[in-house]
């Protein structure tokens, strides 16, 4: 299964570089926020690939924590875009 997993990891890296292109190019702040959110979701998939590749199940703990933190960060950025304070 290892060559297949290498291909999957390469594909996810390609997607991550496309997200990085959008983060760098912009042109507005919401574009960058969307790309950061998608990059976090791709990292969750990459953690699954690493879990199968190494056979260590703690990578799935990293995936769950990464999904949680990515969601919180995206919501905070969206509230910032909307022009509201964090305690509203």
């Amino acid at each position: 299964m290892t060559p297949f997993l290498a291909i999957v990891a390469a594909g996810l890296l390609l997607g991550a570089f496309l997200c990085l292109y959008r983060i760098g190019r912009g042109p507005t702040a919401p574009d960058r926020t969307v790309a950061i959110d998608i990059l976090g979701t791709l990292v969750v998939g990459f953690c699954c690939v690493m879990a199968i590749w190494t056979g260590q199940d703690f990578y799935m703990n990293i995936a769950i924590a990464w999904a949680l933190l990515s969601f919180i960060g995206t919501i905070a950025l969206a509230k910032y875009l909307e022009g509201r304070q964090y305690n509203e």
Binding site: G11, L18, R22, T41, M60, I64, E82, G83
Partner: protein
């Protein structure tokens, strides 16, 4: 047999992920990008998680992958909706080829604002009005 099923699920998920990222680069404005990328990448990552669960069906990875997939399916649409709403409120214009703007007709019945809403230029009034209208 279980390996083959896991490989098929992961391959389909990878295809959805890559197509979502291509949509993120190719589509013309932020609203198109958020819908293409969020839907494709959420489905693709959930398929990769399902493949992980099938690969290690009796182990600890399976239940963690199922938990993570449920969490992603719950949070990803919420995040995308918040980003799109924040983008509209912060004054990002639609692509000129867009045909309808129902949310804009609801928020600004007299027509869209002439330019970007600058928070420093209009300090209190638009914020208070927006808060009342959405609560």
């Amino acid at each position: 047999m279980s390996d083959l099923a896991a490989e098929i699920l992961i391959a389909v998920g990878l295809a959805f992920d890559v197509f979502g990222c291509i949509g993120l680069v190719r589509l013309p404005d932020v609203y198109n990008r958020v819908q293409a990328a969020t839907k494709c990448v959420t489905l693709g990552t959930c398929l990769i998680l399902a493949g992980t669960a099938v690969y290690d069906i009796t182990g600890a990875m399976s239940i963690k992958a199922a938990l993570c997939a449920v969490f992603l399916l719950l949070t990803s649409p919420v995040a995308a909706h918040a980003i799109a709403r924040g983008a509209y409120k912060s004054g990002v214009r639609l692509w000129e080829g867009s045909v309808i703007d129902r949310y804009g007709a609801e928020v600004h019945p007299a027509g869209p604002p002439a330019e970007r809403i600058e928070p420093a230029a209009q300090p209190e009034q638009p914020l208070a009005a927006g808060r009342e209208s959405h609560e």
